[in-house]
Symmetry: C2
């Protein structure tokens, strides 16, 4: 029997909100909360509660209209969104940021594993107990062999776009870019998330400035 979950098409912004909601629910569950209402979720995520109810309505089994059981909602989100489908990631750029990110200290959850690192600098090619580090010319071979779908970019700005293209050519479908440049990808089958720290400073500065202005 074909599973119901395979037939649902969820819009991209809803996927992003539901993924964030999942993390939120994990936190609340750890703190002992068992039930949540859409109004509370909306407040936590900073979106109207009707948006959240609509998002959750895509997950058919989850809709109760009268609050959600946290553990149930969490499991349904994970199932519908396929959180367990692509667990392996690789990282390009084993400098200091790449090293910090791949250290098992909770920066990524236990669900995911960064199984291979790549660097052009021969000095960085030391094997770590938890992960193998390869030269760049092994990129295709390792990604194919390990069936890796997610790539992390922690190279300097000037090489970031080239590395993104290389990863895509090797079959990577999702990229987390930490390099300080916004990378856009014009392919519907590849997704990118830019973690742009300077942009975050701008956003905060603008929000503070706006608040102070309106208040006066």
């Amino acid at each position: 029997m074909e599973k119901e979950v395979d037939k649902i098409i969820i819009p991209k912004p809803a996927i992003v909100r539901l993924s964030t909601l999942f993390v939120l629910l994990e936190n609340l569950e750890k703190e002992g909360q068992t039930k949540i209402f859409s109004a509370e979720i909306g407040k936590l995520l900073g979106v109207p509660s009707h948006t959240i109810r609509k998002d959750i309505s895509f997950l058919r089994q989850a809709g109760t209209g009268n609050g959600y059981e946290i553990s149930n909602l969490k499991n349904i989100i994970a199932e519908y969104l396929g959180f367990n489908k692509y667990k392996k990631a690789c990282i390009v750029g084993m400098g200091r940021l790449g090293t910090v990110i791949t250290t098992k200290n909770g920066f990524y959850s236990n669900q995911y594993a960064v199984v291979a690192g790549f660097d052009n600098n021969p000095k960085k090619l030391k094997t770590r107990p938890d992960m193998e580090i390869y030269p760049m010319d092994k990129l295709k071979e390792i990604i194919d062999r390990e069936k890796i779908k997610i790539g992390i970019i922690t190279v300097p700005q000037k090489s970031a776009r080239k590395v993104a293209n290389d990863l895509i050519e090797c079959g990577i479908k999702g990229i987390i870019n930490f390099s300080p440049v916004l990378i856009e990808i014009n392919r519907e089958d590849v997704f990118i998330r830019n973690i742009f720290i300077a942009g975050e400073f701008n956003i905060l500065s603008a929000l503070i400035s706006q608040y102070e202005t309106n208040k006066l």
Copy 2:
């Protein structure tokens, strides 16, 4: 004369998009592009072009309807959004991630300066040539003295919420949280940006999974 720019109220989601657009324009300008149309911006930001036109229309001088001069639009965004108003930041947690983030390698732009670091571990209290590192009990004193409005959190998960509260009590108005926990702040005068790496993995995994499912 009161400046026009001080009177505009721009909605929060528009502020976030315009701040990201600013970074995008900086990149395009470096690459030699001088003009851009809303359709291209929409595509790059992944939002409809009418949303972008509306966002830009809040910046009254910028609207032309017939494409935008990149350098002009960039300057107007910076002026309206007050990017130059709050330049100083501090960071709590001088572990490896905190150290990487505050190293001047481009992770934050030259517009901003992390002027003080804080840590509870006496071993971390070495002064660096570019920034002073203080014990936690100096938080209020330094934030007041330096008039710091933005705080970065790079402490372990278990202390992150307490540190956020401490920063807010000391007068911080904007927080960038790198600790692997979503922090929500129920105050309209304080803004937070959660950089949650595990959440990014979830989002990518969900987007890839969704694409593969629809394609089949």
